[in-house]
Subunit: 236 residues, 2 copies
């Protein structure tokens, strides 16, 4: 089966977590909006297609199934792509971790858009500075310490005992945070050795290395979730 991924063509965004899974598994897929333009997304959002109604991209077409929401797409793809350890308990844990990654992504996005996604960054800079400070001092350490602890506990057990889509998403998180908050991430460096090792391991996987070096990997930019604004990431 040829999977069809629908996501905005100009950013990594939430679509990237799905792209990484499809690329890592080496399966046949088409990144629809990058081939045919973002307009290809609209009929689904307007309810002109059969099946599930997505609230927003990304969504995946797998045969007749339309699946929206990154966590749900990955929970579906995991067993099909061999990207989750076998057994109900591991599948549930992987999904729970992906949900927490999803919560973290919202908080990362809201550092630069704390008031309205529909308004420019420049219109909400004062609030963005405040929210980013709380993010750097409280939320970033809390989330990263949590995932570090999960890896520490997971060795040889349940989730993360084998390569999974959660690993791919954690790689994406670390990459994006290094881009958006290089100073804050430098200060976290010694506290996340297992996350660093995981991210390096993922980057060296042949299919992922090939993908990252290809034009299919959209560079980080200031339209996506991970944005670098120097004033939101001071050196101290």
């Amino acid at each position: 089966m040829r999977y069809e991924l629908y996501y905005w063509s100009g950013i990594q965004g939430r679509g990237e977590y799905v792209r990484l899974a499809l690329e890592d598994a080496g399966v046949d897929y088409v990144d629809v909006a990058r081939e045919r333009g973002d307009n290809a997304i609209m009929p689904f959002l307007r309810g002109r297609q059969e099946g599930a109604l997505p609230f927003a991209p990304p969504f995946l077409k797998a045969g007749r199934l339309v699946i929206a929401q990154t966590v749900t797409i990955l929970a579906y793809l995991g067993p099909h792509l061999g990207l989750v350890p076998g057994g109900q308990s591991a599948e549930i844990y992987a999904q729970q971790l992906q949900m927490t990654i999803s919560d973290f992504i919202v908080e990362i996005h809201d550092t630069h858009h704390p008031i309205a996604a529909s308004q420019y960054y420049e219109e909400q800079r004062t609030a963005a500075r405040k929210r980013s400070q709380v993010f750097r001092e409280e939320r970033l350490p809390k989330f990263l310490a949590y995932f570090e602890q999960v890896i520490e506990r997971g060795n040889g057990r349940q989730a993360l005992s084998r390569h999974s889509y959660v690993d791919l998403s954690l790689f994406q998180l670390i990459s994006g945070l290094d881009y958006a908050f290089p100073n804050a991430m430098r200060r976290m460096q010694k506290r996340i050795p297992r996350l660093r090792a995981l991210a390096e391991r993922v980057a060296e996987r042949p299919n992922i290395a090939a993908y990252l070096a290809s034009p299919r990997r959209i560079p980080f930019n200031e339209e996506g979730i991970f944005r670098h604004y120097a004033e939101l990431d001071p050196t101290r």
Copy 2:
């Protein structure tokens, strides 16, 4: 099996979506922190227990399984409690809808806490007023119109063709929004007839009606997700 729900004892919060499912199904469960105090939650968060590590409550103990994240808990409970239509396609759609409800809940919470969950409302009132205006004018209509359309399409098809945990969560959303934003919800009234009918139907289900009238239902208050601050919900 006796389910154990772990959630803060003083608020409805995210735990309420799980409580409604357990109550509607009429199964045996214990609301642990309400019986033994919030301290009963801590060993799990500190990693002193076997199994999955929760990032935050709510989490559910089902035999030896520890399941965190509301969406994941409901995806697990749905088939066990008869609270999702049969078949993979319906289960996926229900989970996708619950994910979107989850996204909506974050936005509802952030109307009163746009800067930091760890700070008082009074410390972020200026940003809260701005974010709430965008919420009332853009986000609230967009999410409610989406769910209204889902119900319209769903009749006789896939998800929402039968009673499910998604119905219970939509009931909770409508109830909470009526509490927090009565004026904004009055202005939405004519545009959500199907959501209104669904919420009334859920409230009349015998187990739900009994639950709502019982002391187990914690009243809405200004510690939870749905808070009523008059300045965030002007009459016009």
